[in-house]
């Protein structure tokens, strides 16, 4: 179980590095959390998110300042005193192997405190019946937006729209695209 836990932390660190290198939009905290929980380790998504934030910030600062592995571990220890020893070892190992690959190139990237849109999942449904109306036949669109925050956490936001709302929604995006073309 310890090895599997270490593997997951290792995966988390790798995802953080890939995110810093703009290869992936973010770290799938919810999925990692689920995997850790099935190992019987008590952790909630919020705590795992904090760890992702801390390690992400640490890696990017270390990359920009060319910190050595020892300096990195010292800084980590000062930031998070409660990390278990094997987690620290995993982080050190990943940094040793891949730390140098973190590119500190300048690009437009995500400088905002605003979430970045990643993907849209959708479903078209018809509500047939409910406790208030036996025969509804009410069509609606359900949408899940995947949004990555600046530290790379991907969260889902789901909501429903009526058909007229959806048509307006679509039209607004087409307008946005049209404006982007001219800019």
């Amino acid at each position: 179980a310890l090895r599997m836990f270490s593997n997951i932390i290792s995966l988390q660190c790798e995802q953080i590095i890939q995110h810093l290198n703009r290869k992936i939009p973010g770290v799938n905290t919810a999925e990692l959390c689920q995997r850790i929980q099935t190992l019987g380790v008590e952790i909630n998504a919020g705590d795992l998110a904090k760890i992702t934030n801390t390690v992400s910030f640490l890696f990017s600062t270390a990359a920009r300042n060319n910190l050595s592995t020892e300096e990195l571990i010292t800084t980590l220890g000062n930031a998070v005193s409660t990390l278990p020893k094997h987690a620290v070892q995993v982080i050190r190992h990943v940094w040793n192997e891949q730390g140098k690959s973190i590119s500190v190139t300048e690009d437009a990237g995500n400088m905002a405190t605003v979430g970045q849109f990643v993907d849209i999942k959708w479903k078209l449904g018809v509500a047939m019946s409910s406790d208030t109306c036996r025969s509804l036949k009410y069509p609606y669109v359900t949408v899940t937006l995947k949004v990555a925050d600046s530290s790379g956490q991907i969260t889902d936001k789901s909501f429903e729209m009526t058909i007229p709302q959806f048509k307006n929604f679509f039209r607004q995006f087409k307008e946005m695209a049209a404006v982007l073309e001219t800019v």
């Binding site: 979430g115 849109f117 036996r134 429903e160 929604f169 982007l180």
Partner: protein, 198 residues
Amino acid sequence: MAAVREGEFAALQSLLKAPSRDAVRQLCQECFSSPLAGLGLLAQRACPGLAAEPEEAEQLVSALHSLTRHVVYRGLTSAEDILLLFPENFHQNLKNLLTKIILENISVWRNEAQASQISLPRLVDMDWRVDIKTSSDSISRMAVPTCLLQLKIKEDVALCGNSPVVSALTVELSKETLDTMLEGLGRIRDQLSAVANK
């Protein structure tokens, strides 16, 4: 929504004491819109005007709630169908008045029922803006267009009752991710057309 019981129709007779048709109309609307938990309060207001005893008021309000909700549940739309609900010896004028009031309100009530049924959070508003990023602490000059989108989303009405929680989601889209969005939305539109043509 179970059918209206005989006893409940009897309770409706209290409406004969109403000061005006408009008073009856208003009470019908309030009884339909009120959740079960709010009926007690409505009953208090109906008494002493329409009912001598608080118990009578409660039965009246409950019966009206039942009747109006039942009509919406069954999807009744014609006067004949609604009239058929009443027992044979029910007061003729009151029956006609109630049927008339129900017919007047049926489509508004149906929309209200649809709007308040359980659902995922609903989109209530959307605002957007296109910006150009011109510089930052790491890049001195650039011209990168970007979209800022703010969605206002209202949590499930059934959970929030009278104090709906509206949250704002602010999202940034680049030209590429905007294309992803458009592609997804385009597919929804295609599906809608396909379903509409069936």
